[in-house]
Amino acid sequence: MSSPSSPAAATIPAVGRTSRIPPPALAVASLVLVTTALAFVFFVAPDDANQGFSQRIFYFHVSIAFTAYACFIAGAWQALRHLWKRDPRADLASYVCIHQGLIFGTLVLLTGSIWARISWGHWWLWSEDELVLFLVLYLFYCAYFMLRFSVDPGPQRANLSAVYALFGVVLIPVSFAAIRLAKTFVHPEVFHLDGPAFGGWILVTYCITQVALLVLAYTLYRLEIGGKRLDLRLRRLREALA
């Protein structure tokens, strides 16, 4: 009626299909774009009237912030695909996206802090809405990792992670609104991190930096997920042979 059978190693499918763009090409593209962006930021973009040279960090800070948002949204999208389409690859993709988002989120907080220090002499500004938002999101997504590491790998962990990732993406606008609303009764400071007025070379520099960082994020994503999928396949092969 039944018997334990050992599957042939050949019947275990490759866990990742080869995407259109190979990682080495992506790595080269990232390198080129980031170098170009750096060149633009330091040499092409004009000095800011008020803050001078130090204000150039704005290009990175804002680009990194949007890249982080993009990662979280991508993570939520993959989470939705996991819950809805039951795509077996979506859970890992969602996790890696959010992992990237958290890395870039850390950079947002760091660059923001440095910018605040340079501009106003404080290492932290509660009056800067976006910075506070990233702090909240940081806490939220750190909890995501705690959740994930507290459950054994399997369908349940994937489900819980996916649902939480969806909550996260809804939290982004809601938290932002809350932070704005709170300004009425929280001690209002007058310090702000202002970017330059957009136009001309400033816009060009910003666009290049943004594209460069998005490509970099995607490259890192591909590298990480490629590594994890390979690891998964290796483990399955090892089990099949055991």
């Binding site: 819950l83 909890a143 959740l147 819980l160 809350a178 609303l181 009425t184």
Partner: protein, 216 residues
């Protein structure tokens, strides 16, 4: 509708369980009273309305967390979740019923806490009561949902506050804004509206995705 009857039966079960065990509600009452006493010693001088409003909401939030941590204990310890999950009823009914029961306990605790707050600190107006009502809905809805998630993990009670606090931030902002009122906040209605919006948005998400939290 059978859905509402399922919710009713489950909520009744949760209320009965608590009434018989009699551990969570007294703990919440004692906790919030003790917290108020600590607040008195923590605030120097004559605290303003803004300061005490903030503290009120910290007290409510952590008292709620106390109750939420206990919400799914019977299902976890006695493994009864298996029985509920295999039933043909909609799984979201489990979440809704549990939220309603937790809401009942939180409101019961607040019925004592708010007069106590008025006694110790500042008077409580109608906007505060409205804020409490709306915030409670959000706290219990989202908190119960996350409680079910936390119970499925190894870390359990440790994880619930971590999952809950970032999501509770908008509730706190809306609630404090409405509680403080004029002159600091000229239109508390805006904050109440924000709370209502939060409640609606997250209720829909929780209702739609609870299925995935309990079933593998």
């Amino acid at each position: 509708m059978t859905y509402l009857r399922d919710v009713g039966a489950l909520a009744r079960k949760d209320l009965l369980l608590e009434l018989r065990a009699r551990d969570t509600l007294p703990a919440m009452l004692l906790f919030i009273a003790a917290t108020f006493v600590i607040f008195h010693f923590v605030l120097p001088g004559e605290p303003t309305r803004l300061e005490t409003s903030g503290l009120l909401w910290i007290a409510i939030l952590f008292t709620a967390l106390l109750g939420l941590g206990r919400a799914f204990v019977p299902e976890r310890e006695q493994r009864t979740m298996d029985g509920l999950v295999l039933a043909p009823c909609d799984r979201s009914a489990i979440w809704l019923a549990k939220s309603i029961a937790t809401l009942a306990f939180l409101v019961a605790a607040e019925v004592v806490a708010l007069p106590l707050y008025a006694l110790f600190f500042h008077s409580v107006g109608w906007t505060t009561v409205a804020a409490v009502a709306l915030a409670d809905l959000g706290i219990c809805g989202v908190g119960t949902f996350l409680g079910a998630m936390a119970v499925a993990t190894r870390a359990r009670d440790l994880l619930l506050p971590l999952l809950f606090l970032p999501l509770a931030l908008p509730i706190v902002v809306g609630a404090v804004g409405a509680t403080v009122g004029p002159p600091v906040v000229s239109s508390p209605g805006r904050y109440l509206a924000f709370l209502a919006l939060y409640d609606l948005l997250f209720a829909v998400i929780c209702w739609a995705s609870f299925e995935y939290v309990v079933a593998e």
